[in-house]
Symmetry: C2
Subunit: 377 residues, 2 copies
């Protein structure tokens, strides 16, 4: 198992990760506390969101009236797949439940600095497309600010300098695994990803996949010394790639992922051909022994995101396990669910074109942040 | 002898520096070529500007009509002294002679990142004051753009990312002497100082003291691969501190420097008390043996900057060397020259208040650069 912001490989032992990273499991008591504010979505109630830092303190701050804010992001370098959307849907749940400000960073330099062959021009081709996919998730346009690092840099750089002065090369090497051959742009970049945690003098809550956690360890070391809050986080698991439940879905291996732009036919073909099955080799054997939903990617996807109804999900689980439901039938259910989702997403993405100005410039929060940008010297 | 961008100490062997740094001496033939364009100022004709990189190519580019541009800067953290002005007067000579664009960088993050105890607030106190001192030198307001890094960062950051990707941690450590305890802000900063060399697809010429040369070695390694010119440079010696001809004038030791804000009385007292003398211990001995102008700081200052007239300078030299002129008389000449200069500077600085908008925003070049800032994504 290897889990860093740049590489996720192997069978992931999430309990071990929690210990290694020093985060906490989200237990039933904590879920009960969250549930008071709004009905839990499947990702929360089924343990896809499994780990946190200081979520209890976030809830305290909310109850006491101090409030909190949300922060997440997406580094563009290609089309988004379904796995990329999970943290955004978790974020949306929190914004809907608590009506708080949300900052969405689009670091349009990160992948350029990290990948030898990638050009800025290639990155720039995907920026707006990715932003539209994100807007389609359905955030509050007056409480959400979407910003690109290179465009909003004047709002970031002074804070970045203040942070960078507190972090030495040793620390950056230890936390991120840089070495002397790393370029000094990617070395500096983690600072940029820390900046939004200093946008408000409230506790920030960052929903992300667990591999992003190292970025904010630095923040938690220095924030209080700078008069800010240690950032809080909720971590989700990885949506398993189609080809098996190990690792995470990868943009570079297109067979393992369902892209948001995949056609209905693409989706059907990919699921039928690649979705790793927990079923038996023959129908006869399957009827007799039953399937294993725990390792079946189609079932896992239904469980994580695509089947919201717990009763229906349980029936699928039991029918598959008993052998009553065949792999092809299970896959057909998923194909329909994904295609419904993608059809809806495409419609919302088309509508998002009209909203982009509001999220980037004209919404209530966006306006406030551009005023800050103008006057922060 | 130690000469780095952060420390200058000991008796400086300039010929050795030229060898170590791999620059070239400005020889008589090159001076003759420059002289064709305009009468040399004392700093050029008396060898205070002594070293260069590619100045011959700059002159070729100018002759062929391709042109070139100038770039220099000043990191604010306190008041400016006379030594800080030398590179600006050299720069002014080149702008007057060749009528070319000049970019003046005010890195209002550098000293904050480099000095543990210095705050950004302390830096910001000096930014405008330093800019006014620079404007007082008398640049062409339509061909000069003065910019602060944190204010103009959107015009800098994308170029900075392109450069940073080409420079690895090893190189930065080797060139600048960083170690693992260095903070990652100061590690990234040299990139910012390289950005203005990419403002035009022409050769850039950087007048600076020789200790700044390492900053642009990186540029010369990567510029051509990025479709730009290797930057050219002219290097000056250090104006010796009052207390002796070793090292350079330091802002932190106020006795060794004449500040631009020093009163006429301050100047008189400092020169009389601290200016290292090449004279003899008693008047009798001085009359008999004569003084040594080579180690006499007052004579050196007259030679470098304050006595433009070669005939007058030679007479002072000869009279002092022969013992005809006493140290007190030599010092009195310098005091008058400095006080005349500072009176004139103060008047120009007062006038500069009205010009600051033109240099920063409204002048022809400034306007062009802000248009670039707006549209460079």
């Amino acid at each position: 198992m290897q889990v860093t912001p740049w590489k996720v490989e192997g069978a992931i032992d999430y309990n071990k990760l929690v210990k290694e990273f020093g985060t906490k499991l989200i237990d039933k008591a904590l879920l009960k506390r969250i549930e008071k504010y709004s009905k839990l979505n499947p990702m929360l109630r089924r343990g896809f969101v499994f780990s946190h830092r200081d979520l209890d303190l976030v809830l305290n701050d909310y109850s006491s009236g101090e409030g909190f804010f949300l922060y997440t992001g997406r580094a563009p370098s290609g089309p988004m797949h379904i796995g990329h959307l999970m943290p955004f849907y978790i974020t949306k749940w929190f914004q809907d439940a608590f009506k708080v400000n949300l900052y969405i960073q689009i670091p349009d330099e990160e992948k350029f600095l990290a990948k030898k062959e990638l050009t800025l021009e290639e990155v720039d081709k995907w920026v707006i497309d990715n932003i539209l996919d994100i807007i389609a998730v359905g955030f509050d346009p007056d409480r959400t600010f979407i910003f690109q690092d290179r465009e909003y840099i004047k709002g970031l750089y002074t804070i970045a300098c203040r942070i960078a002065k507190k972090v030495n090369i040793s620390t950056a090497k230890a936390v991120f695994g840089f070495n002397n051959e790393s370029n000094i742009g990617i070395m500096f970049y983690p600072i940029m990803q820390n900046v939004p945690t200093f946008f408000e003098k409230k506790r920030g809550l960052i929903p992300s996949a667990i591999d992003q956690d190292p970025y904010w360890r630095i923040q938690r070391d220095i924030a209080e010394g700078m008069g800010y809050f240690k950032t809080a986080a909720v971590h989700c698991r990885f949506l398993p790639p189609l080809t098996g439940i190990e690792g995470k879905m990868s943009t570079s291996e297109s067979d393992t992922a369902i892209y948001l732009h995949d056609s209905q036919e693409d989706v059907r073909k990919k699921i039928m051909k690649y979705a790793f099955s927990g079923g038996q080799a023959t129908i006869e054997e399957h009827r007799k022994k039953g399937g294993n939903p725990e390792i079946d990617v189609s079932f896992q996807w239904l469980s994580i995101f695509f089947e919201e109804d717990d009763t229906k999900l349980k029936k699928i689980h039991d029918d598959y396990k008993s052998g009553k439901m065949l792999t092809s039938e299970l896959k057909a259910i998923l194909v329909n669910k994904i295609n419904d989702f993608l059809r809806d997403h495409a419609r919302k993405k088309a509508d998002a074109v009209k909203l982009i100005k509001q999220f980037k410039y004209d919404g209530k929060l966006a306006k406030k942040m551009w005023d800050f940008e103008k006057n922060n010297l």
